[in-house]
């Protein structure tokens, strides 16, 4: 596996902790490479991070493909809205620098809050506003 810059990995760890700390309804947060290998994670509820990372990368790539096929630009987020919670997947960066940020929340989480936090997450990881 190609090594990732340690400062960047630390930013990813900081980001996952920040997401959990700032959102009461957040159950787990993870950052993984675009090909589904986890980089950093934080969780309040036990989740199988390796499996969630693989699913998140597929969702991110499918969201990208769906946006392309539909001609609606670049995807900002893929939302899985389920009866007992939500999974949000955001693609950050491009090419070899692309990563996926995934956030698992309870069903009561206010989506506007999550969007704002995920935008901040992108700024933290890329150094530029989303």
């Amino acid at each position: 596996m190609k090594p990732m810059d340690s400062a960047y990995e630390e930013r990813c760890r900081q980001l996952t902790r920040q997401l959990l700390d700032s959102l009461d309804g957040a159950l787990a947060a993870l950052v993984c490479r675009a090909d589904g290998i986890e980089i950093a994670q934080a969780q309040r509820r036990p989740v199988d991070v390796a499996r969630l990372a693989a699913v998140a990368s597929s969702l991110g790539a499918l969201g990208d493909a769906a946006s392309r096929e539909a001609g609606i630009g670049s995807p900002r987020c893929v939302l899985v809205d389920s009866s007992m919670g939500r999974l949000l997947v955001r693609c950050v960066g491009q090419g070899e620098q692309a990563v996926i940020v995934a956030l698992l929340t309870d069903a009561q989480m206010v989506l506007g809050q999550v969007w704002a936090q995920l935008r901040q997450a992108e700024t933290l990881l890329t150094g530029s506003p989303a």
Binding site: M1, K2, R33, A34, D35, G36, I37, A50, R51, A54, V55, S57, S58, L59, G60, A61, L62, D64, A65, R68, E69, G95, E96, A98
Partner: protein, 177 residues
């Protein structure tokens, strides 16, 4: 009439390439940068590939490609739903191609007794071992009698041969013994 055929198999075996070689339309792909240096490739599929081809006999074959890595096995099961048949692509230049085949046989074990399937083995010129007979023996060990073909997935005719083999099995109602 529409048919669905799923291409699965080892990372780097050429699932994306095979679909691109045969599809009448520009395929939809979900390739991203590969960060696993052991795979020796720049990009890898993490969601699915899609293309389709219209055959002379009026069939439109919808071609779905899976990711190769086992961590994406959940996509294998999703994509195999309602499939007419399955193509398993094996890269003979990998360290243990027979074990690679067994991995996919294990994951599709529940479906294979009723799912027409062909095995395509690539890079057999550079890596002649294991032989096609060895693959047939590995299948026989599981009680399966499936066609095993040497293929170059960059060649449209080779990929078409795999698809037509699967369709022929389905038409004959052939099930593995």
């Amino acid at each position: 009439m529409d048919l669905k055929i799923v291409f699965t198999g080892t990372p780097g075996a050429g699932k994306t390439t095979a679909i691109a070689a045969l599809s009448d339309v520009v395929p939809m792909s979900t390739d991203v940068a590969n960060t696993d240096a052991s795979l020796h490739k720049a990009t890898t599929t993490v969601g699915m590939d899609y293309g389709h081809v219209d055959l002379d006999d009026g069939f439109r074959v919808r071609l779905f490609g899976t990711p190769g890595q086992e961590r994406f096995a959940f996509m294998w099961r999703i994509l195999a739903q309602q499939a007419l048949g399955l193509v398993i692509l094996i890269d003979n230049s990998r360290p243990a191609p027979l074990d690679d085949l067994r991995l996919y046989l294990d994951h599709f074990a529940e479906l294979l007794p009723a799912l027409p399937c062909a095995v395509g083995v690539g890079r057999t010129l550079e890596c002649p071992l294991p032989t096609l007979d060895d693959f047939a023996d590995a299948l026989a060990d599981r009680g399966l009698a499936l066609p095993v073909l040497a293929v170059d997935v960059r060649q449209r005719d080779d990929v078409l041969m795999l698809v037509e083999t699967v369709i022929a099995q389905a038409e004959a109602g052939a099930t593995p013994t």
